[in-house]
Subunit: 429 residues, 2 copies
Amino acid sequence: MSTASESSAPDTVRSTPRSPGHIRLTSHSAGFGAPQISWGAATAAERGPVIATTTDRAHRNVIGTHSGSYSVYRALAVAAGALSRDHRADLTNTSPTDVIGPHRQWADPNAIVSLDPWGATVAESFPELLASGYDIRPTIAVTKAHVILPEIAEAISRGRLTPDGEFLLSTGAALVTKAAVEPVWWLPGVAARFGCSETDLRRTLFEETGGMYPELVTRSDLEVFLPPIGGQTIYIFGDPQDLSNPAVELTARVHDECNGSDVFGSDICTCRPYLTHAIEECIQGAQRGGVGLVAYSRKEGRALGEVTKFLVYNARKRQVGGDTADQYFARTECVAGVQDMRFQELMPDVLHWLGITRIHRLVSMSNMKYDAITGSGIEVGERVDIPDELVPEDARVEIDAKMAAGYFTSGAVPTTDDLRQVKGRGLSG
Amino acid sequence: MSTASESSAPDTVRSTPRSPGHIRLTSHSAGFGAPQISWGAATAAERGPVIATTTDRAHRNVIGTHSGSYSVYRALAVAAGALSRDHRADLTNTSPTDVIGPHRQWADPNAIVSLDPWGATVAESFPELLASGYDIRPTIAVTKAHVILPEIAEAISRGRLTPDGEFLLSTGAALVTKAAVEPVWWLPGVAARFGCSETDLRRTLFEETGGMYPELVTRSDLEVFLPPIGGQTIYIFGDPQDLSNPAVELTARVHDECNGSDVFGSDICTCRPYLTHAIEECIQGAQRGGVGLVAYSRKEGRALGEVTKFLVYNARKRQVGGDTADQYFARTECVAGVQDMRFQELMPDVLHWLGITRIHRLVSMSNMKYDAITGSGIEVGERVDIPDELVPEDARVEIDAKMAAGYFTSGAVPTTDDLRQVKGRGLSG
């Protein structure tokens, strides 16, 4: 934990590279033999590894463990006798397909607070510690893929996209580099992002989850937390090295998960149509010498989860007067207490990990995403809204409510009176 | 916790309806004023409500809190000052659009152990407790939707599907009833499914997550755990009431999340093609007087998470000899220690919640899913494999390896020699 004075000045949190002056509670097994983490240090060696193993507790230097919420399944596997608790991952041949960084942002403790920039290269970064028995695991994995989307096939057949054999094949497959990123939270920095003290953050995380990880409150010397939540996946169209070059045109969308639309094509929102439009824009961008990026965050239902999302759908469709755009946010707030829980404050971290300083074309209308990105020091050029013909009829309620609330649009902003007229389908339709 | 003798006989775990004889640790704030849960009781009133509120700790009768892993975002919202910790959900108009159950399976403590069958109807089930101030929240939400998938539009244009105005509209939209289901684990029953003692399950869940929820080990009187993991979503094509009628043809797929294919169309596996084929089968089934079901479980990358999944992709593509089907499972096991962590043992619960006793057409080739479903007492008629033309070229490695390992196929099972010949693309392609 930072010193008291730092905690109370959340905008200028600094890492504590060498002499932390922490209280180490000797009642815990960890703390001796555990390498120190100096968040934001300039090199991997100075920063130190993130060790979340459950096999040798004395080596642990974080709260929580790997794989986000899948740590629960790993525990089940051990309980069921399917997995040895001492299993060590054989990382042969698993290293990234593409070099990402290091970028200067990695050495700024305030630029990245919710992922481990060195998480993709643990084998290269900590060979001696690994050789001497420390169980250091990747929190990021980088691979390559061919992605085939029916919407891209249709764009080809309609002549909007042309296969080039390099970024887009005649089969309709787009070539991507992709990375999965686990959450790794440096608590002093996360607290700073949300304008609260680290102490309050720790206590609230503990209390409001019903008592998850007492170490959050008892181990203030452990500054890093691997929360049991979903992470992010990034899809890069073109050369990943170009992402950090502000002279190369970057088309980017930051997309929050919506299973109902992204996978099943529900017509109540614009999520998948906007996502596939962004992929089309990314491919076009790569083809004209630029690079494209989609960063996909696991934040189902505005991070309220799908049960709350469906409850809100019912409340919207059944309210007196029907599902009108002027009541769109009110219904979420009645059920959930907030309009949105996605907290875009942490989202730009992945952009800084990639070394991005300028997004030429941001394929998003969200003012919250825009504010978070520009507020973190990344320039944004043009904003690309969803083409009107891609908005499903029942999703006009959502998109109009959002535009009236501050979302970007290249067209007219709906008035309060307009919002009362925009009405979605009922539940019987 | 069950009595010692019950714990040691995991196949015949019984609920403890009236006199639990639990040790209640008075050092904890909960336990007084908290309604008791008698898992598997015949009525909601006898079963008692699941109370996971963080607002009044004395009312809590479970470990953990609501919304799975999104409880962490809720805690962040409180820390950031965006959400009052005392917010009570206004559940006006949120109740299910369709009546599900009660079914006789709800009164069998062994039939359902990982969800709350009464979780969709808390307002109707516990009106007096709600009125007297208990914060009881739904763990299931049921709504209606129109889903529009490009693959279904293509099936219409190719004449495989014909809009009927009831199940499938001329716009290409299919009408569904859908439900989101949060995990609610009755620990004695979960332990029984995995053949371990409840004590071992509790300790392992605690230790192997790096110390999540000490109440797992200190509060043996609390039998119910809401784990911070993703849940399930079910999509019903046709009348939900028909699901429990074995005389009505049921077409069903139980699908495990694969973001890379389900959303982005990666060609390394068959996930989305099989899913959209199942939806086509479900619509056809509904049109001929049957009912269709897709149960979608949040178990990314065989519940290993996406970082591990991508590490395995690299290891497969780079190994000596290339990405051959005979090494398919070995590479996962080297990295993860197991071939699979999805544990289909809990999956059938959602089928029992829906009252299903017979699946006429199971759109899945997985022997693990089949064994779990039939082992739980549900009859399965025909098994429907993925049409060969829907298997992406690079996904032959996966599907052939799986068929050789016991997955159902209506065709020939590949031999060991065949598997050596089936080879996927390298990383440079």
